[in-house]
């Protein structure tokens, strides 16, 4: 331990009572508030998924009734998308790291940050109410007129929950944008920003621009459902496809809200454990922005067989292939980063490599879906389910786990068990592939999604998938225990256990309340991993790492 760290108080020492946590405006503590809430939602949504997979182990409906099954997948989707994936990395790691990475004392609007969490909690109460009161059976997509005229669950309540949580996203987005623009340390130019900051910035832009459209669509649903105003209902002069256009205008960019921050995390982790600069840094940074822009132009690829015109389909297909390019560029850059490195395989690196594999295969599956004629066959089948789980779970959740392990020493001042970390990473990788790869085959065979029962010839692949879900669940439960244990009993972490270059590693672990004892100045590009004397740098907090020097 450095003598500095021993004498100075960290942000964790600033009061332990509920008041000190619930009224904090410290971005690091708000990150923990989010982390705890999101973990709860992740396991709630995960439990629904496990129940679904158990039901699907047999072709008949033997475990739960059709109405219960429909509620399971609806709530699984609603919770995982809006109450876990969208806020996951931005609200936890992003909140904690953004000021640290740019050398700021806090976010631009600390109170707005805390308010965003309260708004999140308020919205989540609506969602939890609709779960407890009897559920929602519209799917997470709330397609009309099913959601407005025919659904008998608590649709309005759930939609209100999603609506309110959207404001939490908008608040976070505005805060991040202003912070990146105004609070960068001296010398920290745009092209010296870590990619994590770039992706969080791109995500924030999408959050601010897309979420209001979702809010508008959900309000229109509630207006139609409660007051009978015809917007989407053809009997009242409305158009059901209008809802799909509005919904996907938000929800496709939301896919990028859900993956960009994950790309940011692995862009930090891969260089660190390869001891190499990120290959093609500028291309990776700019492709994040390209994804954010193109992401707004491809919503119609969810609607190729919906009844929209064939020509609209052709244009949306073309734009979808365009958005594939920046993602491909990133994959090539990440792969080349490993070249001529000094690679070690700690848990964050394992997770990052698994991200690379799963994101690549999920993305390649996206080519099938963007290709119009093939999409007609696999649309609304398990092929789509497999594709987006490869991106959202194999990609985003794996990256989230990589980031959580990577920055855990910084956040807590404790090391986690490396052995258990590696076992959990391997378990999620094996469990994930066993769960979702068979679903590609199922989708090609024609198994529609959201089916409570299915023809018996599909059972073989469903059994594999259900077995994988059990392994996957174990892989996600393990960190709950060994990270929890580490919180109280883990070895003290040095300031920079991985010998990483970011500004966040130049302050104490855990950081002091205002992040830096002396405000840093930046004079180097990011990822300036030197090639010599590497082994001495790790686990030695006293040594200057490379790059930035404190003034």
């Amino acid at each position: 331990m450095s003598s500095d760290a021993a004498t100075q108080l960290s942000y964790l020492d600033e009061g332990a009572g509920p008041r000190a946590w619930l009224l904090t405006t410290d971005h690091k503590r708000v990150a923990w508030l989010y982390l705890v809430s999101l973990t709860a939602f992740f396991f709630l949504g995960g439990a629904f998924a496990v129940l679904m997979r158990l039901e699907l182990a047999t072709p008949g409906g033997d475990l739960v009734s059709d109405d219960v099954y429909n509620r399971l997948f609806s709530l699984h989707g609603i919770i995982m998308v809006w109450f876990f994936l969208v806020p996951s990395i931005p609200a936890t790691l992003g909140n904690f790291l953004l000021p640290l990475m740019i050398g700021a004392r806090d976010l631009a609007f600390p109170r707005l940050n805390l308010a965003s969490w309260y708004v999140f909690v308020f919205g989540s109460l609506f969602a939890l109410f609709s779960v407890l009161a009897g559920g929602v059976d519209t799917g997470w997509t709330f397609y009309t007129p099913l959601s407005t005229l025919y659904a008998n669950g608590f649709v309005s309540t759930a939609a209100m929950g999603v609506f309110i949580v959207g404001f939490s996203s908008i608040m976070t987005g505005i805060n991040f944008i202003v912070t990146v623009h105004t609070l960068r340390a001296p010398g920290l130019t745009w092209f010296r920003l870590p990619i994590f900051v770039w992706t969080i910035y791109a995500t924030a832009l999408v959050m601010v621009l897309a979420t209001p459209v979702l809010a508008a669509s959900l309000i229109l649903i509630v207006l139609e459902r409660v007051f009978g105003i015809g917007i989407f209902n053809p009997d009242l002069g409305g158009d059901p496809l209008l809802f799909q256009h509005l919904f996907w205008f938000y929800s496709h960019p939301a896919v990028y809200i859900m993956i960009l921050p994950g790309m940011g995390v692995v862009s930090e982790v891969l260089p660190c454990f390869s001891r190499r600069p990120l290959f093609g840094y500028k291309a990776v940074a700019l492709s994040s922005m390209a994804i954010a822009v193109f992401g707004f132009l491809v919503w119609g690829h969810h609607m190729f067989v919906s009844g929209q015109s064939a020509y609209a389909g052709v244009i949306f297909s073309f734009l979808s292939f365009c958005v594939a390019i920046p993602s491909a560029i990133k994959v090539f850059n990440w792969s080349l980063t490993l070249r001529k490195g000094e690679i070690t395989f700690e848990a964050p690196m394992l997770y990052a490599l698994f991200f690379l594999a799963l994101f690549t295969f999920g993305g390649l599956a996206g080519l099938f879906l963007a290709a119009l004629a093939v999409d007609v066959h696999v649309h609304d089948t398990y092929f789509v389910v497999a594709h987006f789980h490869y991106i959202m779970v194999g990609g985003m959740v794996t990256a989230y786990m990589a980031g959580l392990h990577f920055w855990w020493p910084k956040m807590t001042g404790r090391m986690y068990s490396e052995t258990w970390g590696r076992i959990a990473a391997a378990a999620t990788f094996i469990g994930f592939n066993l769960t979702f790869f068979p679903q590609f085959v199922l989708g090609f065979l024609g198994m529609p999604r959201r089916y409570h029962t299915y023809p018996p010839e599909f059972q073989f692949w469903h059994v594999l998938s259900s077995a994988g879900a059990v392994v996957l669940a174990a892989g996600y439960l393990m960190p709950l225990f060994y990270l929890g244990w580490s919180l109280f009993r883990g070895a003290r972490a040095p300031d920079n256990p991985w010998g990483a270059t970011g500004l966040e590693w130049q302050t104490a672990s855990p950081p002091p309340p205002h992040n830096f004892e002396r405000m840093p100045r930046v004079s180097r590009p990011p990822y300036a991993y030197a090639m010599k004397g590497l082994k001495h740098e790790r686990f030695s907090p006293h040594k200057e790492t490379t790059g930035e020097t404190a003034a």
């Binding site: 390649l364 004629a373 090639m531």
Partner: protein, 319 residues
Amino acid sequence: MSFGIPFAPGEASSSAGSVDTLFYALLGFTGALGGFLTLLVVGYAVKYRAGSGANRTGERGRSLPLEIGWTLASLVIAFAIFGWGATLFVRRDHPPADALQIAGLGKQWMWEFRHPGGQREIDELHVPVGKPVVVSLASQDVIHSFFVPAFRVKQDAVPGRTTHVWFTATEPGRYHLFCAEYCGTQHSEMGGWVDVLPPEQYAAWLSGQGEGETLAAAGEKLFRALGCSGCHGASSKVRAPPLDNVYGRPVALANRSTVIADERYLRDSILQPAKEVAAGYEPVMPSFDGLVDEAELQMLLAYLKSLSPQGPPNNEAIR
């Protein structure tokens, strides 16, 4: 070789082959690229693991020619796949002029088809082999989707508009018909079979439909004579619950409970319609108590039961 494990759906339409060619081409390409990247990353991870003796001189943080190269290559390949997929896709809009026209109606939770000659079938669609068929799709309630995996076709049926799907079946047989768009409680039960018949068998099937008057048929006549069809019919202006496939299945009620539509429920609904009103409908139906006798009621029930040709679904939760 596959030990009874299915790996690919059968090809039974004129477009299935060309869609599969694209699918397998994509599978080959993505498999090759994914395999190459996997080998590359695993190779690097092994070769450049910490402490290995690999030569690390000449490392670079960027390479402009390489980056431009793979960006251009990605563009070319992406646009080629786009063009291939789009070319096949626009054929969906151009069915052959001599196609057989069949009307399909989706409703919670069944498919109803009407042939040109007036033959009507539920959850079953008979088509001749080798002849193009256009199914014009409508929906009575929510969005459904007509999906026949063996034909590689899918099209949503959207309330308030008509959509079309066409195919030419190439292999006689019996193929799954699914509803692919989530449509509520019994979404997974909504479907049936497409029966592809040789032309002569198809002609025989057409002529064999609807001869003689059964109890159900008498009930249907009564159903019309009493004016039931004026509201419960598919083309009615008054919104009343459709009665197809109601028998034996759960019905959501306005008071948020659910009942199974057994004989009791059907009988009570005719005689005391205000007692258990289906969710989403106004309680406007008059009571037929005293207007129909028991025998007539039996005929009506037989007719209503005939609207659920499969009987109660095979669903443990209902029993």
